[in-house]
Symmetry: C2
Subunit: 241 residues, 2 copies
């Protein structure tokens, strides 16, 4: 087995750069941490190289032994991690969808990952993100998906153009909103539905709200607001197939 002991090794330095979105986009590579995520990525044939500081414990393809210092340098986790995978991104395609989640500029990677995880749990067919949504391959996004990102096509698109296409395809598009909206229990299930959730601070942009067929609010006690991942969970539960 190959062994790297210097944190100054050129490959290690290249991997360390994958903590930035720019470098992930440039190389098409990203890092994942821990056994569970590696198993899920392996099923999709996305793992190029596995780094470990405890090679005796694992039997995986393309393993490189490295030092604990190198693991620490590459990990975004506070506790010690013994497996890091270098993966290549995969082209994802949403096929014959009936339930879609549309994300308008979600900024928090924890919210983003949790929404993807919930979308898998409720059988949604894909997640479509505005271009300014946080990166799918951000370490915190990946961690929050709990592996669900390997089971859900997630694509980035211009949402206004995407909405036009959805309308042509017979979709009912629902924007979540706090004002001038219909309570959720009054909106019935339809065959093809897409739900827009908005940015943590500003909600769904007005232009997308105006393009939607309905504006939905979740009935609450008093004028409060929900975390976007919670709101998404309630909506996806309500309309799952």
């Amino acid at each position: 087995m190959e062994k790297i002991t210097s944190a100054q090794n050129s490959r290690i330095k290249a991997y360390a750069k994958l903590h930035t979105r720019k470098e992930r986009e440039h190389t098409g590579l990203f890092l994942i941490e821990g056994e569970h995520l590696l198993e899920e990525a392996e099923k999709e044939n996305m793992v190029e190289t596995v780094l470990t500081d405890t090679p005796d414990q694992y039997q995986l393809k393309n393993m490189i032994e490295v030092t604990p210092e190198i693991m620490k340098k590459l990990s975004s986790n506070v506790s010690a991690i013994h497996l890091i995978g270098v993966c290549h991104k995969k082209q994802m395609k949403i096929e014959a969808p009936h339930r879609l989640l549309l994300l308008d500029d979600i900024q928090d990677p924890g919210n983003f990952g949790t929404l993807i995880r919930t979308a898998v749990s409720f059988g949604f067919d894909g997640v479509v993100c505005s271009r300014d949504t946080v990166d799918l391959y951000n370490e915190k996004t990946i961690r929050s998906t709990q592996g669900a990102m390997f089971h859900m096509p997630v694509v980035y698109a211009d949402l206004s153009a995407y909405l036009d296409d959805l309308h042509k395809d017979g979709f009912t598009v629902i924007a979540t909103a706090l004002r001038n909206a219909v309570p959720m229990h009054e909106i019935e299930k339809k065959e093809k539905m897409a739900f827009i959730l908005g940015n943590e601070g500003n909600g769904v942009s007005l232009s997308l709200q105006n393009m939607a067929d309905e504006r939905l609010f979740i009935e609450m006690n008093g004028f409060e607001s929900l975390n976007v991942a919670v709101a998404g969970g309630i909506v996806m539960y309500q309309y799952h197939q």
Copy 2:
């Protein structure tokens, strides 16, 4: 206005220690950051001292001017914060409840804070936490509540003993579970209901599950699991009054 310029000042050093749970418990004090949280804490008369590095911009009681370096030392935020409040904890009491959230060893402060925020949004009367639940006064918990912690009694208790009392008080106690449980739509609203949510890794402990009147699962597509704050949101929406 009093002014402190040295990060070695004894009061500043004492405030910096409030980042640990131990010191918060010892002193009964905790820190909050930003204008919104300060306003909410002020309404409850919980603010003892306000620290700022931009005193001209605010008119608040008991303000002390400090340097940006001191703000940085006391803040848990990556971006610059210009207001920090030193607050005292308040004895909280749940009065005449009809809807309660019971948390069994929730570990993630973001989940905990989000659950409190959601409980306010759906008119719950209180949150009861097992002793091993993460600290309410953790900076991340506070941030995730978005100020909701000042509108919701949150208490720590031995949950088994608490469940005994709830039963005597006519409560129906529902534990969330993934196995051997009833689908949520089959469980009807009752006058007094308490819902137990479990630890992120292990769910609700078996002993508490056995003490509950019902075990509830959220219907999903396939055997998946939900983030606990999302699961809590779905359950609280379903049963809010």
